[in-house]
Amino acid sequence: MSASTALPEEDELIAAELALGLLAADERAAAEARLTEPAFRAAHARWQHYAVGMIAGGEEPPRPSIWAAIEARLPGNDAASGAGSSPLRWWQASTALASIAAVLLGAIALRPTPTPVIVAAPPPPRPAAALVAVLVGDKDNGAIAVSYDPASDRLILTPTRLAIGKRDAELWVIGGDAKPRSLGVIPAGEIAKRNPGIDLAKRIVAGATLAVSAEPIGGSPTGQPTGPVLYVGKISAT
């Protein structure tokens, strides 16, 4: 292995403690924040390597049925497994929300108030089917109406009442691969308009799921949802 970096011993030990899971919550958060420093990050990676090296051994190929069970549990294969329940994805964990969303979507298009203010855009050359979704929360938390115009790549969110406390609400689109992709933080109480851009736009399609999670201010630090689901709904064509 290469010669040691210039990292002071104290920092090296903290990197080791982080890799070994020894730190209490606040110390851990402080250490994790330092992973942006290259030398600290490199030390952390090294200690992760030592840590798993310490517990390696007793290698044993698992039974063939284990692979079959894993395959059956992959997203998209769930219907084929048959035996036992498939693991719920995080946005499906609140089944009450999901079923309410399904009922309401049939009954409501967009809530009329407050009226969304749509910035005038040039008319699209071909009419494209607009997409809508109603994201429903627990009983008193209101709902979020969402409309998306693929032609102008314009996503409009009309929250009525976001009960979020001291956190930010982050919007995610989840498609067939079960991976949430962020559409950004929603300002509470205001109408949000955004252009998701090409990569995200292709995922905003009928049948995909939209979900809102509670995140730290500024949005999820990890790029994936870290907080509870507050609203969920499926996208449908108008």
């Binding site: 310490m54 517990i55 051994g57 790029g223």
Partner: protein
């Protein structure tokens, strides 16, 4: 005593690169690559699960959960910061520890004598293939004073934090921290 043979460094580098490539293909949703990753790594990951979870069925469940995590999070693997195998084994360890701790029993369980938790001794007829890395780590663990390697290893196997180690052993937090840090500092010196 088991014979230790050196793994050909070039072969090791090739295997590592192949695994990293397969994992990056998994990030793109490639199921064949996912199966390739499984074939290459499941024996090692299962070994880790078995060390952490005493019941075989539990270890099997944890292994499944680990690979589901691998499938979902393959796009978070950063080849610039560690090997794919370390990443995979860390996931297996984490899922196994999650499972171990789910019942809440471990937080109050007495700490096993650290000396008992050693490396499993390979059978005399086994050839233990180790890379230079692994050989050096085992050498350095062996250089620690009696009980210290087990102390570090147990903490990681059980997912214990400093405060939990102190609570379970009845030893003051400061003492536990000093002991661990001394061991880690010695390891660091040896491994440099």
């Amino acid at each position: 005593m088991a014979e230790i043979v050196a793994i050909d460094a070039e072969r090791l580098a090739q295997d590592r690169a192949a695994l990293a490539r397969a994992l990056s293909a998994v990030a793109g949703g490639d199921r064949a690559a996912f199966e390739d990753v499984y074939r290459r790594t499941s024996a090692k990951l299962f070994g880790v699960c078995l060390r952490i979870l005493p019941e075989r069925q539990e270890a099997e469940e944890a292994l499944q959960e680990a690979y589901i995590s691998v499938w979902r999070r393959a796009d978070t693997f950063d080849a610039a910061h560690g090997t794919a195998m370390t990443w995979l084994m860390t996931i297996a360890r984490n899922r196994a520890v999650d499972r171990l701790r789910r019942g809440g029993k471990i937080a109050t369980a007495p700490i096993e004598a650290a000396e008992d938790v050693a490396d499993p001794t390979p059978a005399a007829t086994d050839l233990v293939a180790r890379s230079q890395d692994e050989q050096r780590l085992h050498h350095c663990l062996g250089m620690l004073p009696a009980g210290e390697a087990g102390f570090v290893r147990t903490a990681f196997l059980e997912g214990s934090s400093y405060s939990e180690l102190a609570a379970r052993s009845g030893v003051p937090l400061g003492t536990v921290k000093s002991r661990m840090r001394r061991a880690l500092a010695k390891l660091r010196l040896c491994l440099q």
